[in-house]
Amino acid sequence: MAIRPEPFGALAYHYGNRKLNFLRSPELVRLVDELEHFDSTRAAFDSLDLDARQWPAYGKALDALARSDFIEPLRPSPGVGP
């Protein structure tokens, strides 16, 4: 993945699947940059001191990035077991 700064935030490009994503704020770009250093997105939201009003929007943006394989979970999600 490559990230290119833009006035609105950044463009993210995945060389593998050729998908392009718009990161729509500088704060979101910082979150994506730093995400790997945290155990959970919640920990990242807290530690990076992100605007709490934007958390739902950032959560959605991260979901979209995960769906197109830009980011992946650190551990497999807990299975829906018996």
């Binding site: 290119r4 700064p5 833009e6 006035p7 609105f8 060389y15 392009l20």
Partner: protein
């Protein structure tokens, strides 16, 4: 956050989608060629100059270039240039008529990362295709696809310019793409280059445009390169894409001699922003050419301002208006509300801009042998 389209209209730090035509030389003479290609131009960029551009694109973090022509594979340094680009993480998507894809080149291409291929095909059968692209061109394209499949290239794209004559074959194109595990890409016919003339005969009818719109809404997996956003004025949903004219804002074109135009469909002096050989090269042109700065200013909706559909269609395609002699702040010639047809009716023959770039091969001369006088 403001709407993404508003941000994009103000222009990006570097293009998202940059088309680079490597040569005007072409073995075909398609009647709708956007760049009026045919003959190589002696001023075309050298290998070293082309590599300088690639270096500049890498520095600007342009993720990929769309390479076309002419027929780009005709350049003897074609593979050298795409190797150079992809090694520097500038991905390559190139369009070809397939004539140079054989067993060997298909294997070479299959071994490359970051290289995507679009095979142009404008009919789902030889009759429809060859009427536009020339005799034998359907068979050539199919042979290229067979070679790519045999070399295990993976998914390539079949790229179709939608016309009045092939629009009834859309499902056949899907079938063809599925047979090869390929993706289908449909683009809009623009009245540019040699299509300034052929557009009138080839562009879809009003009823066909409506049919196409609903067909595309049902098939978001079909790629369109954003080219049909003018159809959004039909109002039943928004087609996939950014839904705006990206000329000089998110897209531009570098032609074979290094001239930079606002988009791939306006190879005309009025939309020329500079030349990559100028001091400062491509980055300076993108950042500060007066033409591009002007295109990033808020544009007037003009005659379309009072139309309730303007937000949906954004007034359509600048190139389509320009080459049909329509004002740029008015309706698209293919406006789905019919405003374009009214406007076209008012255009006089002298209102259309004369061509400023034509590399067509001379019209074939037919030698008429005069029968020798009969001897008695």
């Amino acid at each position: 956050m403001t709407a993404l389209t508003d941000e994009l209209k103000r222009g990006l730090d570097a293009p998202i989608c940059l088309t680079w035509e490597l040569t005007y030389a072409c073995n075909l003479a398609c009647i709708h060629c956007l760049s009026s290609s045919g003959r190589r131009d002696p001023r075309e960029l050298s290998t070293a100059e082309a590599k300088t551009i690639i270096d500049q694109l890498r520095a600007l973090q342009v993720f990929y270039v769309n390479i076309g022509g002419g027929e780009p594979t005709i350049r003897t340094d074609f593979f050298e240039l795409i190797d150079y680009a992809t090694a520097g993480e500038v991905g390559v998507k190139f369009s070809t008529n397939g004539s140079r894809i054989n067993v060997h080149t298909a294997r070479r291409l299959a071994a490359m990362d970051y290289t995507d291929i679009q095979i142009s095909l404008d009919g789902a059968n030889p009759t429809t295709n060859d009427a536009v692209r020339g005799e034998g061109s359907f068979a050539t394209a199919i042979a290229a696809m067979d070679h790519l499949a045999a070399a295990d290239f993976g998914s390539f794209k079949i790229s179709v310019v939608v016309t009045r004559h092939n629009i009834g074959q859309l499902d056949e194109f899907v079938g063809l793409a599925n047979r090869y595990g390929a993706e289908l890409r449909l683009t809009r016919l623009r009245p540019s280059g040699r299509a300034v003339e052929s557009w009138h005969e080839l562009h879809p009818t009003e009823a066909q445009q409506v049919e196409l719109y609903y067909w595309l809404l049902d098939r978001p997996e079909v790629l369109t390169g954003d080219s049909f956003f003018h159809l959004n004025a039909l109002g039943s949903g928004t087609l996939e894409g950014l839904n705006l004219c990206g000329a000089g804002r998110v897209v531009c074109l570098i032609d074979p001699v290094g001239d930079v135009y606002a988009c791939p469909f306006v190879l005309h002096d009025e939309f020329k922003a500079g030349n990559v050989r100028d001091a400062g090269g491509f980055p300076d042109i993108w950042r500060s050419s007066p033409l591009f700065l002007e295109l990033r200013e808020p544009q007037s909706a003009g005659a379309c301002a009072s139309c309730g559909q303007f937000d949906a269609c954004q007034g359509g395609c600048m190139a389509a208006k320009f080459f049909t002699g329509l004002p740029l702040d008015g309706p698209d010639p293919e406006c789905v509300s019919g405003h374009g047809q009214e406007a076209l009716a008012a255009v006089g023959a002298g209102d259309r801009p004369p061509s400023t770039s034509d590399h067509s091969k001379p019209t074939p001369v037919r030698f008429i042998t005069r029968a020798s006088p009969a001897r008695s």
